[in-house]
Symmetry: C2
Subunit: 328 residues, 2 copies
């Protein structure tokens, strides 16, 4: 690089007191207003964290080594940085801001690492699990808009653990999908057969597992059933239903549980009902009414919440394409 | 894990609004007060960063992928996370807090990735560079305490680039150290021969290099000479001297330059002086007076600055072994 092309505004007499504004000065040449805004906020918080804690060089080095180990644990099927984000509550926060829901609509929650794109399509009423995968459960659902109109042709992706707490992808030598499936809603919603999900541990043999251990946290998620509901014109709903009374209901390792998503499981008592759905009396029964919002409802809500949040923070940022950038 | 052993205090009805206190609740079982304090501050700042920027899922995923790439770029001789910390100004901040200096003492700066432990020992007056490494430079130094007393037997580690801007470790097939050496101060300080250092780029072929490009920053460091001064009872001084007038003097890619560490280089004008030191008239001359502080001076200063900084931040933390922990 030709030094004469250095156009960076000069730092002001650098000390560790004024390092933060000096980093902002050097980053100020970034032509992308949003990236500039992200970096300014990131650097300010990073430095404030170090100042507030008087972070020592030994602690800094331990953090460098931890982050390096997290990166090096990642491969094609393992994403340890997402796990870190999950266990620090960042994932559910980002998801909540990106997909806010008005009262009455079904809340979203974290996607998690076990969704695949190869699930089979099923007809209404079929079982998404092969035989012997756990205690049989019937799931009866409706899908509506916020005005209460039934939504047909919603593509519903469902996935869950078997009764050993494992997703199909966690079995070595997996050749085909199991305990997952894609259905399409009709005017009465959709229903399918599956198994009762159970609690399971997140992968704990890496640096994030070590961190949880140091923090005296467990690595379990309460039992749940994942859903992804998609229809043109509607905000995609990524969510999960949690079984009430799970021992990890109030301490989910990745903070995915929300009160509005906790549901009771009944058992089928009526022989006629069992007969109608091809189940047995005593089998588990889960009923749920999904409510989707339109893309326009989502956009309006996101804009309003962004404005309210920035006002509450006393931020002078302005919104550009719905996202804050510095007001300069 | 036996669910009955879950002793974690329950989260309060999780929403993305209250995720931060909920993460604190789950982390509150950590028995190490300092780690608990670090995590509380880290999670608060991480969440505030996401809230302030309304971080989107796409941006979050880009950050996950960036951090993964940073981790995977690291190996035995490359530490991309330290480079990231350096380029965000964190390293110099942490170093400044860990090794504060009173007025009159020589300031410290970042160690950088090029220090080695295999440098040869040299007698006063020898050259630490093999022939042909650059423009000859004589370095004349004193080392004193804050009261002005000469300090003998200080171990002084020196390292620098050659005139191509490379450290010896950056040459493939390096068999022995060059442009680095260890000296011991006498009652008149120490002096040695070397070459005039030149500006050089930090490694820019990884994710951090890509980041700097996106920010329209250059990857250069101004010319400097590294010093590490060590003596029992004294706070180890890790510092560098920067050559005044360097084109990157006010835009160091890693924020290591401090005004008090910028020095002029003269040339040797007096033939008698050239003769005395075995140099030529016209060769470069660098003179510097190092002032070290004792471990006790360092500890007292660090404690005082920590107290002042916490008071300024309005923090209610108390100091334990000189470091803040939560007051509970």
């Amino acid at each position: 690089m030709d030094p004469s092309t250095v156009k960076i505004p000069p730092m002001k007499d650098l000390t560790h007191e004024n390092i933060t504004p000096n980093v902002h000065i050097i980053n100020s040449q970034c032509p992308d207003a949003r990236l500039r805004y992200l970096l300014t906020s990131l650097v300010s918080h990073l430095h404030d964290f170090a100042r507030e804690t008087r972070l020592t060089t030994d602690e800094w080095m331990a953090a460098i080594q931890f982050l390096t180990a997290v990166g090096q644990k990642c491969d094609d099927i393992r994403q340890e940085f997402i796990l870190l984000s999950d266990t620090l509550g960042l994932s559910v926060l980002v998801d909540g801001m990106s997909h806010p829901k008005p009262p009455g609509a079904t809340e979203g929650t974290v996607l998690g690492p076990f969704h695949t794109h190869d699930a089979d399509r099923f007809e209404i009423g079929e079982s998404i699990c092969s035989p012997g995968k756990g205690e049989p459960m019937l799931v009866l659902c409706t899908v509506k808009d916020t005005a209460g109109n039934a939504l047909e042709n919603v593509t519903v992706d469902v996935w869950e653990t078997d009764d050993s707490g494992r997703y199909d992808t966690q079995y070595p030598g997996r050749t085909s999908p199991d305990c997952r499936g894609v259905l399409t809603s009709g005017k009465d919603g959709f229903w399918f057969k599956c198994v009762k999900p159970v609690p399971y541990p997140i992968p704990s043999d890496g640096p994030v597992g070590k961190m949880l251990e140091k923090l005296h946290r467990h690595c379990y998620r309460p039992a749940h059933l994942h859903f992804k509901c998609k229809k043109d014109g509607y905000d995609e709903l990524i969510t999960a239903l949690y079984i009430r009374g799970d021992p990890y209901e109030t301490s989910d390792a990745v903070f995915g549980v929300k009160s509005s998503l906790i549901t009771d499981i009944d058992s089928i008592a009526d022989p006629a009902m069992a007969d109608k759905y091809g189940m047995k009396v005593g089998d588990h029964l889960l009923k749920w009414d999904f409510v989707l919002i339109t893309e326009q409802e989502s956009k309006n809500l996101k804009d309003r919440l962004a404005r309210e949040a920035l006002a509450k923070l006393g931020s002078t940022a302005r919104l550009e394409d719905g996202l804050p950038v510095a007001d300069n």
